[in-house]
């Protein structure tokens, strides 16, 4: 207990909160007792370290903000490395051409053979994770809403008399309201309503959907939606290592649900290299949900699970987002979509991270 009082005294001494008499007797104590003096020196040093730490931490976050802000306003640009590849290319043009054509032919042959032999297998024990909302349930819900509407005039943005058919998850890749989800979630529909973790609904439009990569972009087009500014999480370009821990957020029910697990294999179903296997539990409705690594970077998008096996879930790699975005950018209307690359929640603990991320994860409701 003595230590506690001593530390308290030291801190007050350093902050200059002591009365003159107290100060004098404290100085006296320091002089007469070398042990106390040593403690004072030690603790002073420790507090300075803390101070320096907090200072540097604040400054780092300022730097981070400024960087993202200037990137967004276009004052600085992140240039791609040009460097040696081009020089090498010039040097070895002919050799590479020959090598490439051989490689090309081989690839096509192998790809042809693989599809020929494996096509029939796909789909039997492979389950897409979109949530089918059953008719009765849907009707019950809409009845419930109707009764509420009479009393409280609840403002729902769903089209009238059409129950929700499918549900999935999606997440913002641009704070201005561009959401990524799976193509199979929005497949074949025109009306989509997204709902954030607070329950607000926004009308949105599908601006890109590619069943081959199973990715779709949705744009929120609703007057009530306000841009959430720079996103707290980044979209990761790095590949992930086996065993790395990761976590997911999604809407398998009407509520946002957190789950955590690990990276279990670098390839997806039947050796698909565009996706990877993770060990988390996922349920219908998780489709389109983001997979984060411990730094809070998006490394994948959940899209399916294997029916026969327990805990085998597949996610598309985040690289697919970049690729699809290139496609999307061919349309001049979407030139100014910018992905965040670095996450600003890197060293926070999980609970804080989720609090920040939550705003960017939406439930996608398809009618």
């Amino acid at each position: 207990m003595q230590d506690v009082q001593l530390l308290d005294a030291i801190e007050r001494f350093l902050r200059g909160e002591m009365t003159p008499e107290e100060m004098a007797s404290f100085e006296q104590l320091r002089k007469s007792n070398p042990e106390v003096d040593e403690k004072v020196v030690e603790h002073t040093m420790f507090l300075q370290q803390m101070e320096a730490f907090s200072d540097r931490k604040n400054f780092k976050s300022i730097l981070h903000d400024v960087h993202n802000q200037l990137l967004e306003s276009g004052d600085i640009k992140e240039a791609a490395p040009k460097a040696t590849v081009i020089q090498l290319w010039r040097k070895y043009k002919r050799v590479m051409a020959v090598a490439a054509s051989i490689a090309g032919i081989t690839t096509i042959t192998i790809a042809g053979m693989t599809t020929y032999y494996s096509q029939k297998k796909t789909g039997q024990d492979f389950e897409r994770l979109k949530r089918e909302v059953k008719r009765e349930v849907g009707q019950k819900v809409s009845e419930a809403i109707n009764t509420v509407t009479v009393q409280a005039a609840r403002n729902t943005k769903a089209p009238e008399n059409t129950p929700v058919k499918f549900g999935g998850t999606g997440f913002l890749v641009d704070g201005k309201g561009i959401i990524v989800t799976n193509a199979h979630v929005v497949n074949g529909s025109t009306t989509v309503v997204v709902q954030n973790s607070k329950g607000q609904e926004f009308r949105s439009r599908i601006i890109y959907s590619n069943p081959e990569t199973d990715l779709a972009f949705i744009k929120i087009e609703d007057a009530d939606f306000r841009s959430i500014g720079p996103l707290p999480y980044g979209i990761g370009k790095r590949s992930t290592d086996l065993g790395e821990s990761l976590f997911t957020l999604g809407y398998p029910r009407e509520e946002i649900v957190y789950n955590e697990g690990y990276m279990s294999a670098k390839t997806g179903y039947n050796g698909d290299t565009l996706s990877f296997q993770i060990g988390v539990s996922a349920n219908p409705g998780n489709s389109g949900g983001p997979v984060f690594n411990k730094n809070g970077e998006v490394i994948g998008i959940i899209n399916a699970r294997q029916k026969a096996a327990e805990g085998v879930v597949f996610a598309l790699t985040a690289k697919n987002i970049f690729r699809s975005l290139e496609d999307l950018k061919k349309d001049s209307a979407f030139q100014n979509i910018r992905l965040t690359l670095n996450s600003s929640i890197r060293n926070m603990d999980r609970v804080q991270q989720i609090k920040k991320i939550e705003d960017g994860v939406f439930m996608v409701k398809v009618y």
Binding site: M50, F53, D75, E78, P81, D349
Partner: protein
């Protein structure tokens, strides 16, 4: 190309002063003035945009810590200084990654900054030690310590926020946490200094 942005030396002093006070505008100005230069340097020498960002931010931190001492005298153009620091930092990083480069090619002249880099390296190590110690501390200790020492909240606020019945209770808990943090930190510190 050498002196396309020439800033007045009084401007530079004001800029450093602003930097020392955590001024957002000053950071922005420094970014606008020098980011592209540093990025070009890194990218022309085997680096990526991410590396450029890291090195540039490290450089600004060096500058910030220098500016905060208050005794910082700039003997050359700020631009030259920034260039030299980033160049040195990048060389160091390349060395650590064992990607040896005989000479980093750049056009600008440089000034010696070895001392700064060394001090910065030391500070970096200390920062990481504290970060590690805080990480190992666990919850709720970590939040408690951060709230008091980093966000400088009052003990009464903390008691309310963390659900302690009164400020004294919170204070007691804080001391227990602080002792543990100190133990973790000094263990790390000794490890590193041996």
């Amino acid at each position: 190309m050498v002196q396309s942005v020439k800033t007045d030396s009084t401007d530079e002093k004001a800029l450093l002063k602003g930097l020392a006070l955590n001024d957002h505008k000053s950071v922005e100005t420094i970014y606008k003035l020098f980011y592209n230069m540093v990025q070009t340097l890194i990218i022309n020498n085997n680096g990526s945009a991410d590396d450029a960002r890291d090195i540039f931010q490290e450089t600004v931190i060096v500058l910030y810590e220098k500016a905060k001492t208050g005794t910082f005298e700039l003997n050359c153009q700020l631009k030259t200084y920034v260039y030299s620091v980033s160049r040195r930092l990048w060389l160091k990083k390349l060395q650590q990654q064992q990607k040896y480069l005989p000479n980093v090619n750049g056009l600008e002249e440089t000034v010696p900054v070895e001392e700064e880099i060394e001090v910065h390296g030391q500070r970096n190590a200390e920062f990481q030690m504290m970060e590690k110690a805080l990480l190992h501390l666990g919850e709720p200790c970590r939040s408690l310590i951060e709230a008091f020492y980093l966000q400088k909240k009052s003990m009464t606020d903390i008691a309310g926020h963390f659900g302690y019945t009164n400020a004294d209770n919170a204070k007691n808990q804080k001391y227990k946490c602080l002792m543990r943090l100190r133990k973790l930190f000094f263990a790390e510190f000794k490890n590193n200094n041996v």
